[in-house]
């Protein structure tokens, strides 16, 4: 159920009405709403999700007794097996098939027909994080299964994040009855929701048409066409995924619940480390806390730190999808992080550290990082490695000052999208001031007319077909 469909409008209005009308039954309202929301993806998917959640919940209770490590391992194993089976079994077996030259998949044809449960990658990470946090004593396990269920299944974030931690969401669920309706919070929620819808409906979906067209040409793309295709996708994936995340955060606010922001205008990052602090933030912090640091982080010397960085980013890539293109994308970002670490060290040794504060350095580094991220997205979007390599080699060998005819409008659009990204940065930074100006300068009837026009535009232009979000398939 996509957030901009008529059925979701009906669903959310009913849920909100019950939620605020019957505050003492809020927990039950959300329990039911989450079940209904997830059941739309399929009853069998719901049963699987509930079973995995129930087992994890049971094990989290057992973690307060003896043999904690065993229960933790069982919990992680069950969750990873679920993910591995549904998401990676075909990938693993087909690779073994190629490696050994044996027709393995012929003996297990059902593997090729497996349907990926919606949101499995996201809920698996949340469940593992919950178990680890309880094991490490960072979080007391909740003794109320309904609270646990609302935490893990809260519908705004269930399909594609943000990846929430128990310590952030469970206390909010425990105090649902105390949440008072606040017009400021509700307005903030509507603002995020509207911003997400505008990004998805008016920007991401329109870019998608051109991206699909370019990428369908694969190796026939010239160097400048490959640049345009890559840059368009760079913006498509940002506007698509940040749209979903903002809608999720917005819907959370409508219930008075705060979900974590996933994006902070990432294409204005000056280096790979900053990029990952601004792109898919809840995933990068998850990777940091539950993979990179347990592997040793930076505690065991530089060489080990770089290996850990590389491994963590490769796993992050694999988490996105069961294909080598995703793994290579992750490894590419791992390499970027290593190179940046070495570069930062060199700058420090040379005594050029202060140079990084100069605005020209910052502007150039943003431009460089933006293009490096763009090259990474080629791996992410391409159907296979050979197309990605072909596109990147065409990009790197073409005359950057020459554009094929017909590409000027795209170049102009890309410039516009980058300017829009900067505008978004400013709008976020000066949100309160802008809001104040908007409220004090524009009279209420005019403001309402603008909101109504936006609602009408969103209803009219919301896609009626089965358009979806890129991250739904992860």
């Amino acid at each position: 159920m996509l957030f901009y469909t008529p059925e979701f409008v009906f669903f959310i209005l009913c849920t909100l009405a019950l939620y605020y009308w019957l505050p003492q039954y809020r927990l039950y309202t959300l329990v039911l709403a989450n079940i209904i929301f997830y059941a739309v993806t399929g009853i069998s998917m719901l049963v699987l999700f509930m079973a995995v959640a129930a087992v994890t919940y049971g094990l989290s209770i057992l973690l307060s007794r003896s043999r904690q490590k065993l229960y933790l391992l069982i919990g992680i194993l069950i969750n990873l097996s679920n993910l591995l089976f549904f998401k990676y079994s075909l990938f693993i077996l087909s690779n073994f098939e190629k490696l050994l030259g044996l027709p393995i998949l012929n003996h297990a044809p059902f593997i090729t027909n497996l349907v990926l449960p919606v949101g499995i990658s996201f809920y698996t990470f949340e469940l593992i994080a919950y178990l680890v946090d309880v094991y490490k004593g960072k979080l007391d396990p909740t003794r109320n299964m309904l609270i646990f269920w609302v935490f893990i299944s809260f519908f705004p974030h269930r399909i594609a994040g943000p990846i929430m931690r128990g310590k952030d969401l469970i206390p909010q669920v425990e105090h649902l009855k105390q949440i008072n309706f606040s017009s400021a919070t509700f307005s903030l929620g509507l603002t995020y929701l509207a911003m997400g819808m505008v990004k998805k409906i008016f920007i991401a979906d329109n870019i998608a048409v051109f991206v699909n067209n370019f990428y369908s040409q694969g190796i026939a793309l010239t160097g400048s066409q490959a640049w345009i295709a890559g840059l368009l996708y760079t913006f498509q994936i940002y506007y698509d995924f940040s749209a979903y995340s903002e809608m999720a955060v917005g819907i959370g606010y409508l219930f008075g619940i705060q979900l974590d922001l996933n994006f902070k205008t990432p294409y204005l990052s000056g280096n790979p480390s900053e990029f990952w602090r601004r792109w898919h933030i809840t995933l990068s912090t998850w990777i940091r806390d539950y993979i990179y640091i347990p592997l040793g982080g930076s505690r065991k010397g530089d060489t080990r730190k770089y290996i850990n960085l590389f491994a963590a980013m490769a796993i992050s890539g694999l988490w996105h999808g069961a294909a080598w293109t995703f793994v290579i994308w992750g490894m590419y970002h791992g390499l970027l992080q290593i190179c940046h670490n070495l570069y930062a060290k060199l700058m420090k040794c040379m005594g050029w550290g202060k140079l990084t504060d100069h605005w020209i350095y910052k502007a150039v580094s943003i431009l460089v990082m933006f293009n490096l991220a763009n090259i990474g997205w080629i791996f992410f979007r391409s159907d296979n490695l050979s197309i990605a390599i072909h596109m990147i080699s065409s990009m790197l060998t073409t005359n950057l000052l020459y554009l094929d005819s017909g590409m000027y409008n795209y170049a102009l659009a890309i410039t516009g999208l980058f300017i829009l990204h900067i505008v978004e940065y400013w709008a976020r930074k000066y949100y309160r001031r802008l809001l104040q100006l908007w409220s004090s300068w524009i009279p209420v009837p005019l403001r309402a007319a603008a909101y109504t026009a936006l609602i009408v535009a969103l209803v009219v232009y919301a896609p009626t077909d089965h358009s979806s979000f890129i991250y739904f398939k992860f």
Binding site: E7, S183, R447, A449, V460
Partner: protein
């Protein structure tokens, strides 16, 4: 939140205005607007509502409904070179001033045509005068594609459940509906903003095109040049998907064939009405090998015998239009449709006498 009350009032006004100034005429111009209907077949209801209003307000009694697939729709050319347009021109020259409504859609199957007749009843639009188009391929075995009801499954389920079951027995498709679809349908039926959104969007796009380029947006569906300019066409028509349309395998002419089942239902529905069924002709120059196949000829003879036996006026258009006026194997150029319109107009009026 101060704005909330105003927003509610504005939205209410928009609802009322949209219902009052029903913008559905944008979805019909000599024929249905294919992009609007294709993405959401329930938009047909909006067009039917509008036709009903027009009939009521103008007290129309003399009108003909055209139903059929892409041939009656008149693809791939523009609506200004369509069957409905040319027949209306012919009608305007007579004293009768008969109004023509072309409700055909590309890929419309006989199951859809039958459902459309039921929908016309539902909207109190008379089916007293109807022209229907069928093609040879409709009688060929379905595997299970194309389904016997392509566009209007939901409507058939509602209007004639036993026929719906019959169609799905043949096609194996499912009738299960999720609550989300029910809610969506209900909101689209009851809230004008949701109901007319495709039409508003299309209207904005057309207006934008006009303002930007100073011309009316071309509603052609494809290349409407004659077939002999299209080098890749013979290769395309040799693919199994198209070869099925000229199957020489003996047709099953019993009720087990969904085509026969629905034509019988149509004949039953059109009892005491003036109905003309025309079998669209095939480009016998381009499809020479297929058309001359004895199996094809046998099947064609079977179709002729069967349709002639029904209490409905029947016309086989094979060979009536010169091959030069075809854009491909069955579709025509603007001139081809003009000639077809003349043939149908004359034939239909002869049937009246």
């Amino acid at each position: 939140m101060k704005s909330f009350k105003y927003i509610l009032v504005y939205l209410l006004v928009i609802e009322l205005v949209l219902d009052l100034f029903n913008p559905s005429s944008a979805a019909y111009s000599c024929r249905l607007d294919y992009p609007i209907i294709k993405d959401n077949p329930s938009n047909i209801d909006i067009v039917l509502e509008n036709i009903n209003r027009e009939i009521q307000s103008q007290n129309l009694t003399n009108y003909i409904i055209i139903l059929g697939d892409s041939v009656a729709f008149s693809g791939p050319g523009p609506s200004s070179e369509s069957l409905g347009y040319y027949m209306q021109q012919l009608s305007n020259k007579t004293d009768s001033k008969t109004k023509l409504y072309n409700l055909s859609m590309p890929a419309m199957q006989t199951g859809d045509i039958y459902t459309m007749l039921l929908k016309l009843d539902e909207y109190h639009i008379s089916t007293q005068h109807v022209i229907l188009n069928i093609i040879y391929a409709g009688f060929a075995e379905r595997t299970p594609d194309p389904p016997a009801v392509f566009w209007l499954q939901d409507d058939l389920q509602k209007l004639d459940y036993s026929s719906f079951k019959q169609a799905n027995r043949n096609d194996g498709s499912s009738a299960k509906k999720q609550w989300t679809q029910v809610v969506r349908k209900s909101m689209e039926n009851n809230l004008a903003l949701f109901k007319y959104r495709d039409i508003i969007k299309s209207g904005i796009n057309k207006k934008y095109h006009y303002l930007r380029y100073g011309t009316v947006l071309d509603d052609s569906l494809g290349d409407s040049r004659p077939w002999y300019y299209k080098k890749d066409l013979p290769q395309l028509l040799a693919t199994p998907e198209y070869q099925r349309d000229f199957s020489a395998k003996p047709f099953d002419m019993s009720k087990n064939n969904s085509q026969i089942y629905f034509i019988n239902k149509i004949a039953e529905h059109q009892k005491n009405c003036h109905t003309l069924i025309f079998l669209a002709g095939t480009n016998d120059k381009l499809m020479n090998k297929e058309v001359l196949n004895p199996g094809y000829q046998d099947n064609l003879a079977k179709i002729d015998r069967y349709l002639a036996s029904l209490p409905i006026q029947y016309l086989n258009c094979q060979g009536m239009i010169d091959a030069n006026y075809f854009t491909d194997h069955v579709h025509l150029t603007g001139e081809g449709y003009r000639q077809l319109a003349k043939i149908l107009w004359d034939t239909y009026n002869q049937g009246d006498n």
